[in-house]
Symmetry: C2
Subunit: 419 residues, 2 copies
Amino acid sequence: MAISNIRYGEGVTKEVGMDLQNLGARRVCLMTDKNLSQLPPVNAVLNSLAKYGINFQMYDNVRVEPTDQSFLDAIEFAKKGEFDAYVAVGGGSVIDTCKAANLYASSPTSDFLDYVNAPIGKGKPVTVPLKPLVAVPTTAGTGSETTGVAIFDFKELKVKTGIASRAIKPTLGIIDPLHTLSMPERIVANSGFDVLCHALESYTALPYNMRSPCPSNPINRPAYQGSNPISDVWALHALRIVAKYLKRAIRNPEDREARANMHLASAFAGIGFGNAGVHLCHGMSYPISGLVKTYKPKDYNVDHSLVPHGLSVVLTSPAVFAFTAQIHPERHLEAAEILGADIRTARIKDAGFILADTLRKFLFDLNVDDGLAAIGYSKADIPALVKGTLPQARVTKLSPRPQTEEDLSALFEASMKLY
Amino acid sequence: MAISNIRYGEGVTKEVGMDLQNLGARRVCLMTDKNLSQLPPVNAVLNSLAKYGINFQMYDNVRVEPTDQSFLDAIEFAKKGEFDAYVAVGGGSVIDTCKAANLYASSPTSDFLDYVNAPIGKGKPVTVPLKPLVAVPTTAGTGSETTGVAIFDFKELKVKTGIASRAIKPTLGIIDPLHTLSMPERIVANSGFDVLCHALESYTALPYNMRSPCPSNPINRPAYQGSNPISDVWALHALRIVAKYLKRAIRNPEDREARANMHLASAFAGIGFGNAGVHLCHGMSYPISGLVKTYKPKDYNVDHSLVPHGLSVVLTSPAVFAFTAQIHPERHLEAAEILGADIRTARIKDAGFILADTLRKFLFDLNVDDGLAAIGYSKADIPALVKGTLPQARVTKLSPRPQTEEDLSALFEASMKLY
Ligand SMILES: NC(=O)c1ccc[n+]([C@@H]2O[C@H](COP(=O)([O-])OP(=O)(O)OC[C@H]3O[C@@H](n4cnc5c(N)ncnc54)[C@H](O)[C@@H]3O)[C@@H](O)[C@H]2O)c1
Ligand SMILES: NC(=O)c1ccc[n+]([C@@H]2O[C@H](COP(=O)([O-])OP(=O)(O)OC[C@H]3O[C@@H](n4cnc5c(N)ncnc54)[C@H](O)[C@@H]3O)[C@@H](O)[C@H]2O)c1
Ligand SMILES: [Fe+2]
Ligand SMILES: [Fe+2]
């Protein structure tokens, strides 16, 4: 497995100009979103670029929860700019958009579908060299600074999909916990739920040696290899941090220790799931986000309706882990214990129920919307949600327990109401 | 921090021929030592090379505990061979020799001292591109498959030193626990002690944000950055595996679970110390190995006297951690607890004593020689041992507690007898 370069520490962003100098950059593309362009993280990067005399152009048109069109806009900007390095300052939306811009600007004759995951796109392997990309995460969520994944919403198809290749993994991730201090409450919560699900899903994913088919040539093996002894270390460690710090980080913007720990946990979980993969919560989240109706989450300073990624994954988590637990009940029970359940008298066959219950309590405590119904879905939407999950086989096949369409229906139904 | 690529699994060595094909290799250098050239690990690699029709030359002249001369011999072979890829099959001695051969064959006009650590060598940064190196570890010890370090014994100076650069880190590490099954008892023990000390030293090393000087340009920062939240994860995890499995792995060659876990722990601890660094046990071990008199360890199929690296680091460990504990007593106590000490009624100020005592019991149980005296040193050797430690500032300065020459003397003296 491959793991990114990261630098961690309060204030390390001030060195980003030097990093770009070291990379020999002469024309840098700085990507962010409109909201962040007014906030301290972007400011810190701008100061460093100025200090080291780095020539750059800024693109702040990234869409929160990107779409094919918003990717294409960024790609066009990148192609025109003929940049020799990229800096992405933001959450997963910004970092993912920047990965796509770098990829297609480095492979200018490719069709957009060429690199999009099959079966939606062609899933071609990337063979062109990309420019260096420095990622400066500002949420504590996606771990996108450590992964070779870029996710977007394919508008016509009303489904989220992505690009997955080791080639688009950032050259350097700068994890500066100061950037988390400006996050409003719901952004901390929703991006934190993403960390929670990355950890839980990668820890319970199909083991690497049970995955099939297993291409005989290592070069053809997917980035998502199934759970393994190395990703397990990251997943469990991230889960312990989430258990200890997520509530504190959400409730108190001044709790630097909690916010810094969640910022690291996001990268840890990213390293874990970037190698092991995620499964049903993520596979089912893509239609939940893609089919959004009118839901507008609190604290998101944007003008379109959206279901934040972290919320879209966590709402199905109680149902999902109740469903998967029959395969690795001891891992599900261990996760429940880490999240605070008292398992001294627990029976192993109740592992799924116990983890689901623990997750429901966790979410209730944090005022999370009461299931898919609360964000605008009803039973009538289930067939469309199931249909949107089917093309996500790249991740859903990593579920430890195989699932039929009926199973998926039942999981969506069980997630309509949580409490 | 940067982390290597590794592939893990029983039997994964059979793919090494395909990896070389994927790397476009046409002339491969296979390095190993004379003992291993007759054993299953090399056999498995030869079979795979044959299966994929890889053109290669074998060099089995690696010295166990390499010297400047044995490095130079390997370098000469590499220069003549004009190889485009390397495969190292063996313990740290083989992998380190192969790193050096790759480096100097890729930089043919360099003087040997150019890349050797200062102050012994010039410590120049590596700017030439190297060829791909696939490392196949056969001990459960050095973690060299994950590090940018190559250690050798500088004969004239009677001191061990090395080369440290991210550039020499292997391209791919193949961790195939089947290879550990042929290790005799003392090789499991001594290489396991190396894992133990990598974990303990990197966990207790000076924290990354207290290290000085801290070069303002990240490119000039040393590979050994001090303990940090990421290396801590690896160090603790490796230590837990050592506590659970090392004794079993030593005592029972058939205990595949224990040997496989130690094989992984070696890589985990390598990732940890490769980023955080090691400190006094390692700094003091270099003269302990370099000044060897007539000691010939059991189970080592070689004709020269040597102090195996793992033994040379572990013999001072009780004294070292008793000395360093006053700086991070809680970490020392935590380590003692992981290694089996009952700390329920322990006082924090006794942390060093408790960890030292735990280590002594651990070593006694495993029939380790009773201190430096048992491997041929006496009080009269202490000045030379101290003198040999002084040039190791690259590592000793990572000790959480600074040390005078008198302190070093006292540490060697306290390590003469353990039980
Ligand atoms: N690449 C991957 O590996 C990966 C993994 C999981 C999710 N994702 C994708 O990432 C996206 C979600 O990313 P996210 O959860 O990081 O959020 P985001 O990037 O969508 O940002 C959410 C909102 O938070 C604001 N924000 C971000 N940082 C802030 C800060 N420090 N202070 C104030 N406001 C701030 C943004 O301006 C935005 O309005 C989704 O598209 C999701 O599918 C990618
Ligand atoms: N590069 C690094 O990061 C790093 C770290 C620590 C130590 N080191 C160095 O590594 C060297 C020590 O390496 P080591 O402890 O791995 O041992 P080693 O390579 O010196 O090998 C020791 C002995 O074990 C034999 N052996 C190895 N694998 C075997 C197997 N599977 N079956 C049977 N016999 C086997 C070898 O033939 C040899 O005789 C020292 O020079 C040390 O300084 C390097
Ligand atoms: Fe996610
Ligand atoms: Fe070592």
